[in-house]
């Protein structure tokens, strides 16, 4: 069965978010009262799995093996539809 899994990769607290800071500065220069921007990466993954749990398990493993670096990033995932 096909499942759609949304993976959200965020920087851990305290890690410098150069992209977010640059965007924040730029938006401020454009005149918006913006104090903080955090960059987040989202992957939407279609995976074949036997159950929702199996889909979660597979993508969890993929996150550990490739998609997230635990030194600087946290990840969360949600199975969107079955």
């Amino acid at each position: 069965m096909d499942y759609k899994v949304e993976v959200r990769i965020e920087l851990k607290q305290g890690v410098i978010d150069a992209e977010g800071e640059t965007i924040q500065k730029s938006l401020k220069l454009l005149g918006y009262p913006i104090e903080k921007v955090s960059s987040v990466k989202v992957y939407i993954i279609e995976v074949k799995a036997i159950s929702k749990e199996d889909a979660e398990k597979k993508i969890n493993e993929a996150c550990r093996r490739l998609l997230a670096n635990p030194v600087i990033q946290n990840y969360s995932l949600s199975v969107k539809n079955a």
């Binding site: 410098i16 030194v71 600087i72």
Partner: protein, 278 residues
């Protein structure tokens, strides 16, 4: 740890490339210029995903060099995809290679690959997940220009460079900020204690960069430009020594007219180490 590369054994360099690496040719040339035999080897030639005639065995080489570039488009994180592909099929081969005391080098994207692979800093041997990260430059921009580097390490194959020697070597990266994330303080202490820091960004006169731009081009922790493993036979560095092998390649060549580039001594040092068979 003793290196088992003895007399009579061929000292061949495997310059590993895949889709998106782009420094393999000048890297091979740098090794060849100082008299080492270097071969460009595609990742698939080592993993066996090619016709038999093209297959190569990592164990036949003395040096594994991962060159710069943007492997797999630098998607996900720089070096992450190259690392995951190596890990899935060559993990044991690389472990044996390192345990045999052979040399593993990574420049720029190669350093990112070694870090993602858990081969650096490898405090307790090769780690399952990365222990450090080379992430976006603090200034948010790609930096492509010469920097000054101080050789601070006890790495066995950079010995010829001499302690505290300053080299002018170019960098070209957007993700070169070395960090341990929330463990910066704790692990930095460990790196220093183990004498794993091989190169640090510095000012032109060799004094500390103190994290200041432009001397430190990316905001790297403790001005770290290159580190090795505790056993000193795996080295990763962001700057590109292969780009300044000849004097004419130095940024200040027209003024200084040096016959040799500052990167040459790096390769000569590797050659000496191999000849010594440390």
């Amino acid at each position: 740890m003793g290196c088992r590369i003895g007399e009579g054994m061929k000292m061949r360099v495997c310059v590993l490339f895949m889709e998106g690496t782009n420094c393999e040719d000048e890297t091979r040339r740098a090794f060849e210029q100082i008299g080492l035999e270097a071969e460009l080897v595609h990742l698939k030639q080592l993993t066996g995903d090619v016709i038999p005639e093209l297959r190569r065995n990592l164990g036949d080489y003395s040096v594994l060099m991962i060159p710069g570039g943007w492997s797999a488009g630098d998607y996900v994180r720089a070096g992450a995809i190259f690392a995951a592909r190596i890990k899935s099929k060559l993990r044991e081969d690389i472990k044996d290679f390192i345990e045999d005391g052979k040399l593993v080098l990574g420049v720029c994207n190669g350093f990112q690959v070694l870090t993602e692979l858990g081969l650096l800093p490898a405090f307790e041997g090769i780690s399952e997940t990365p222990e450090a990260a080379l992430t976006n430059n603090a200034n948010g921009r790609f930096q492509c220009r010469p920097v000054y580097l101080k050789h601070t390490g006890k790495c066995r194959f950079t010995e010829k460079i001499g302690e505290d020697n300053v080299l002018q070597i170019p960098v070209a990266h957007a993700e070169g900020r070395f960090t341990f994330g929330e463990n910066d303080e704790k692990y930095l202490e460990k790196l220093i204690e183990n004498e794993q820091i091989v190169f640090r960004y510095c000012r032109a006169d060799g004094s500390d960069a103190l994290g200041e731009f432009p001397w430190n081009p990316n905001g790297s922790l403790y001005d770290i430009a290159g580190i090795c493993n505790p056993e000193k036979n795996v080295l990763g560095m962001m700057p590109h020594p292969e780009r300044v092998v000849d004097g004419i390649q130095q940024a200040d060549w027209t003024r200084k007219k040096k016959g040799r580039g500052d990167g040459r001594i790096f390769f000569e040092s590797i050659r000496e180490c191999l000849k010594r068979g440390f």
